[in-house]
């Protein structure tokens, strides 16, 4: 068992960290306070090749593997969670889904623009009646000649307000439940496609998240992703990989929280010395560090499984479940370390606290992740459980 990172991975990690600290972190407070999407940063990321990092070189990428992607997410989240999530949905969810499931023609058509950042990606699955129960979506897709006509509403579409390319899930066979779902690549410019009002959020305030409305939206038949009826599997595969990236963001954000709290504890003096001398503070810091370390190993191990081509659904769910819960816990304790200052908007930890609260919910709530893990374990005993 060799825990050392390859030189290539070390190089990627340094590059990501430098960029995050130099270009992303200084703008994080502004991004949050002004609720501005980090478009300038995305441009710079494009120049660095981050926006298509996982793509093959012919599409403008560097074939970044899952572990490398985790480092990218970790470092970006540690600097600015809004920026990290924007990048993740664009690349990890939208881009990678086209990469994984698309035909050569589809990849040729869309990936280079996504890598250059001229077109950003989004992923539209959730609906008003279909949150955790993704199979319950109602958006329909009717084949008409050489087009599909899509009708329905999607909610909580991260990047919707700034994206051009959407992976949209709709039922080509509404009677067939999950097996009636198909996946489509939908461009904002297609007739019948509308983006709704931007959501106002507790945290992730630099993220642009909107509902989208498909009003008999005309999608060319060649934009069907995979086969009809494969949509649910495509979505689940996409989410498996994305989950891993999200767990890495939890790691990065938690580490940022711990850095803020530990540093503050050494600088703030009360009762004749730094508060780091108080055992209660030491306990918070130690517990945080322990949880973060455990998460790191879980994330890296899961990435290794994924890179080896082995099944990793359960581990990804574990990493996301654990990551979501501990990032919230760590952010909470580290805010507590800051005392009254932690509640003031000038302090970084205040933003981290609000950002962290999204993680137990997005990309599958902690409850859903637990179900996936339990389901995997019980299927080993021959029992199939339902959510």
């Amino acid at each position: 068992m060799d825990f050392t990172l390859s030189e290539e991975h070390q190089m990627f990690r340094s590059m990501f960290r430098d960029f995050a600290q130099k270009e992303v972190a200084p703008l994080a407070q502004t991004t949050d306070h002004e609720e501005k999407p980090p478009l300038e940063i995305l441009k710079k990321m494009a120049e660095q090749g981050f926006l298509g990092a996982t793509f093959p070189e012919k599409y403008g990428g560097s074939e970044l593997d899952n572990l490398g992607y985790c480092f990218l997410m970790e470092e970006m989240a540690g600097a600015c969670m809004s920026t990290a999530l924007t990048l993740h949905v664009h690349l990890g969810l939208a881009g990678n889904t086209i990469l994984r499931e698309g035909t050569e023609a589809q990849k040729e058509k869309y990936l280079p623009d996504m890598a250059e950042g001229t077109k950003l990606g989004a992923f539209a699955l959730t609906e008003p009646e279909a949150g955790s129960d993704a199979a319950a979506i109602r958006t329909v897709a009717v084949k008409k000649g050489d087009e599909y006509i899509l009708t329905g509403n999607k909610l909580w579409v991260t990047n919707a307000g700034i994206a051009d390319i959407f992976i949209v899930f709709a039922k080509t066979d509404p009677q067939a439940g999950a097996r009636g779902i198909s996946a489509f690549i939908v461009e904002k410019s297609f007739p019948g496609f509308k983006v709704g009002r931007r959501e106002r959020l507790l945290g992730l305030r630099g993220v642009v998240c909107n509902p989208i409305y498909l009003e008999e939206c005309r999608v060319p038949a060649e934009n069907l992703l995979g086969q009809e009826g494969e949509g649910f599997k495509i979505a689940m595969r996409a989410l498996d990989y994305a989950r891993l990236g999200t767990a890495a963001m939890c790691l990065g954000l938690a580490e940022a929280a711990l850095r803020e709290g530990s540093r503050y504890a050494t600088e703030r003096s009360q009762f004749g010395g730094p508060i780091a001398l108080k055992q209660a503070i030491q306990n918070y810091v130690a517990e945080s560090a322990i949880k973060i370390e455990a998460l790191r190993h879980l994330v890296e191990y899961t990435a290794w499984l994924a890179d080896k081509g082995e099944r990793f659904t359960k581990e990804a769910a574990m990493a996301k479940a654990f990551g979501g819960e501990i990032v919230r816990w760590v952010a909470d304790r580290m805010l507590q370390v800051h005392g009254g200052y932690g509640y003031m908007r000038e302090y970084t930890i205040e933003r981290i606290y609000r950002d962290a609260r999204a993680l137990p919910i997005i990309e599958g709530t902690t409850e859903i992740q637990r179900f996936i893990v339990a389901s995997d374990i019980f299927s080993g005993y021959g029992l199939k459980i339902k959510p």
Partner: protein
């Protein structure tokens, strides 16, 4: 000037539980409160106290627990409260209650106005005001929204009539029945609340009012209850008018209604 406000203690309609499946209504868990329009009536009386120095007497009928509502009305600013209570009075229906209240009011002596709520929120009969006026042989104005002036033995009020408002002048003494929403009833001041149980409340029995069991026999018999047909649960959406309109159109299209 003396103003009398009859109030009714009821179960808070918001706390009443209805179970259509078992065809059952549970009242006991709902809080006992002053009937909402009676609070509007009390508010009108208290305004007259503030403006014209009127003396406000609150009177109610029922079991011993009704005392709490009278004391609450006192806490809001009423000058005195009287409870009409014994076994017979506790079970009186609106006919018996109107009779008992009329007798009690006669016992109190001269008065200028009786200001009552237009309707009780539990029985929804609206009979008390007119019945009281008939028993006392004085005019009754229903659905009053505003009391404009009380002077020279007359009251000028605004009342609702179909879709209009009418200005009415009535000779005193009279009964005014206040419409729901006519005003915003004031809340009792905290210090008065804390003092509201410090005074002795007169309690009059049926015999004090010269009423017999026969007088107070209920005239209406409740035979049972049934429920309206169950409605399908709807869905709550939010967003800008444009977003909601789109969502509604999608919703209707999905169901092939348009």
């Amino acid at each position: 000037m003396r103003v009398i406000v009859p109030i009714k203690q009821i179960r808070d309609p918001r706390g009443v539980k209805a179970d259509p499946r078992r065809q059952q209504v549970t009242l006991e868990e709902a809080e006992l409160v002053i009937n909402p329009t009676d609070r509007n009536a009390l508010e009108e009386a208290l305004v007259l106290k503030d403006k014209l120095g009127a003396k406000v007497t609150v009177i109610s009928i029922g079991g011993p627990e009704v005392e709490d509502s009278i004391r609450e009305a006192w806490a809001c600013g009423a000058d005195e409260g009287i409870l009409l209570s014994d076994e017979l009075l506790a079970k009186a229906d609106f006919r018996g209650a109107a009779l008992a209240l009329a007798k009690a009011i006669q016992k109190l002596g001269d008065f200028d106005l009786i200001i009552a709520g237009a309707m009780a929120a539990d029985t929804c009969q609206g009979q008390l005001g007119p019945r009281l006026a008939a028993a006392l042989d004085i005019p009754c104005v229903n659905d009053v929204y505003r009391i404009l002036e009380v002077s020279g033995g007359k009251a000028r009020v605004i009342r609702g009539w179909d879709e209009k408002f009418l200005e009415v002048e009535v000779e005193l003494p009279a009964v005014l029945c206040i419409a729901p929403g006519a005003n915003v009833p004031r809340l009792p001041h905290g210090a008065r609340i804390m003092n509201s149980y410090q005074w002795e409340m007169p309690v009059w029995k049926a015999s004090d009012l010269g009423l017999s069991e026969e007088d107070l026999r209920p005239g209406v018999e409740e035979r049972g209850l049934s429920f309206p047909p169950e409605r399908v649960r709807g869905r709550v959406s939010r967003g800008s008018p444009e977003d909601l309109a789109r969502e509604l159109v999608s919703f209707l299209r999905e169901r092939h209604l348009i």
